[in-house]
């Protein structure tokens, strides 16, 4: 019986997108390059009918995510949340993001947010995946987001965040300490 030795273009794309997310979260703050721009390629590599999502604002992503078969729910119930976090209002709308439980910290939400990498607010990151510390600059993230994150995270409870700038992505897991400089 012949075995499939070549991945389809779709398989390769989702595989590559995941690999970048994996390294982005393993080395928080380190910029990785996705195979395609935007949040849709992330959605298709991770989501399917066995998870839930919430999209705030961006209609294009909404359709791409819905195509995966994932269930649309509110931000307080979603596994995967896609939202801008550039204004105080948008950040406040995400105040209910799931933090997981002590027995199941993996039930926490993951947030994918557009941002601008390499400019703007300077942040110092420390924690797993970072040798000593790493200073990065991130723009289009309201300062209230970092405050909300600081209050919400009680490790191992907390959400994990990816910031996406066109086809570049960084990951900030809940295990990372973020100091706003």
């Amino acid at each position: 019986m012949p075995l499939s030795l070549a991945p389809t273009a779709h398989d390769s794309r989702t595989n590559a997108a995941f690999e970048e997310l994996m390294w982005a979260l393993s080395r928080p703050g380190g910029i990785r390059t996705l195979p395609a721009s935007g949040l849709a390629s992330i959605a298709e590599s991770l989501l399917d009918r066995e998870c839930s999502f919430c999209v705030l604002d961006d209609l294009d992503v909404q359709q791409a995510v819905a195509r995966t078969g994932a269930r649309a729910v509110s931000q307080g119930h979603a596994d995967y949340i896609f939202s801008k976090i550039d204004t105080t209002e948008k950040v406040a709308a995400l105040s209910g993001m799931r933090l997981g439980t002590l027995a199941y910290p993996d039930e926490a939400a993951t947030l994918f947010a557009p941002a601008r990498l390499g400019a703007g607010q300077e942040l110092r990151l420390t924690g797993p995946g970072i040798m000593t510390s790493l200073t990065i600059a991130v723009d289009r993230v309201a300062p209230t987001f970092w405050e909300m994150r600081q209050r919400a995270i009680r490790y191992p409870l907390g959400y994990d965040v990816y910031l996406v700038d066109d086809d570049r992505v960084i990951g900030i897991p809940r295990s990372t300490t973020v100091e706003v400089l």
Partner: protein, 304 residues
């Protein structure tokens, strides 16, 4: 919408054997495992064409991250030539068309049963460890839901008690492999049945380690640059196996983890457990241009 738009051309197997929904689930779990280092993420764990207990967990993780230009090394007890390692490596070739290697330096994915290679792994490499029993609390708590609560509460007192009892009974901590270790200062893991010699290699490493138990259906991870600290008492230091002065009879290399080979006359010979590390030394001694990577251990001691 037409049916044709929903379907894809039929193929006997997906690339990498696992179908896309299995891969997506494992991808989601791997990310959560990285986000909470040392926490055991439950996953569905599909059946694969290999018996449970023979590395199906490691296999599923490797199959998920596999791609055609991946370079895969598979070892069992440190050797590439072990029958089980051969079988798994062949499977990757069959379902993934990947490049197979024995060279630790050349691999992008290293799947291993019970050893970490002696050459340091780099930041572009993933180490996938096969795990028979992911639960370090099993000896003190056989009820898995209760063990989960204990991890949630960082309730590890009973583990310390077991180690203390060993100290009192035998004069030293008797835990040989699967040495309970604290990850990121928060979750205790079983680092899989790697020897104590290898556990120190996980601490603040450059590479990513993913541990996967197929039968028990748990994935956990140690990201790069993350603390992994074997549980020890302040006044009782961690002790690795006494191999610092052992010499491999084949290569004359000293100070790495060895296999002991009983001899007819009652004595023992030692050979390097990391077999390809040994092969490289032999080739080098014969004049071949061989790249032997930097090692964690130097002169039989962990270099930290």
């Amino acid at each position: 919408m037409k049916l044709q738009e929903l379907t894809r051309p039929w193929a006997a197997f997906n690339y990498g054997f696992l179908d896309e929904s299995a891969k997506r689930e494992i991808r989601r779990r791997i990310l959560k495992a990285i986000a909470v280092p040392g926490y055991q993420v439950p996953y569905a764990s599909r059946e694969v064409p290999m018996a449970r207990g023979w590395g199906t967990g490691g296999l599923q993780v490797s199959l998920t991250i596999l791609k055609p230009d991946a370079v895969v090394k598979v070892i069992d007890q440190g050797t590439d030539d072990s029958v089980n390692a051969c079988s798994i490596r062949k499977f990757f070739g069959r379902v993934g068309g990947v490049i197979e290697t024995e060279d630790t330096q050349g691999a992008t994915i290293i799947q291993s049963r019970h050893r970490i290679p002696e050459e340091k792994l780099r930041d572009d490499q993933v180490l996938v460890l096969q795990v028979p029993d992911p639960e370090p609390l099993r000896t003190v708590q056989s009820d898995m839901p209760v063990a989960r609560e204990m991890h949630g509460d960082a309730d590890y007192g009973q583990l310390w008690l077991i180690l203390y009892e060993q100290l009192v009974k035998s004069g030293r901590i008797m835990q040989y492999t699967e040495y309970p270790s604290l990850v990121n200062g928060r979750h205790v893991i079983s680092p899989s049945p790697i020897p104590r010699w290898d556990v120190l290699k996980l601490n603040k490493a450059d590479h990513l380690t993913i541990l996967s138990a197929g039968r028990e259906k748990r994935i956990y991870a140690v990201p790069p640059h993350t603390r992994v600290e074997p549980l020890v008492f302040d006044d009782v230091p961690y002790r690795v196996e006494d191999h610092q002065d052992k010499t491999c009879y084949r290569t004359n290399v000293t100070g790495f983890f060895m296999n002991e080979l009983p001899q007819d006359d009652g004595s023992a010979k030692f050979e390097l457990s990391d077999s390809h590390f040994g092969v490289k030394h032999m080739r080098k001694a014969e004049g071949e241009p061989v790249a032997i990577g930097d090692t964690w251990y130097k002169n039989g001691k962990m270099n930290r």
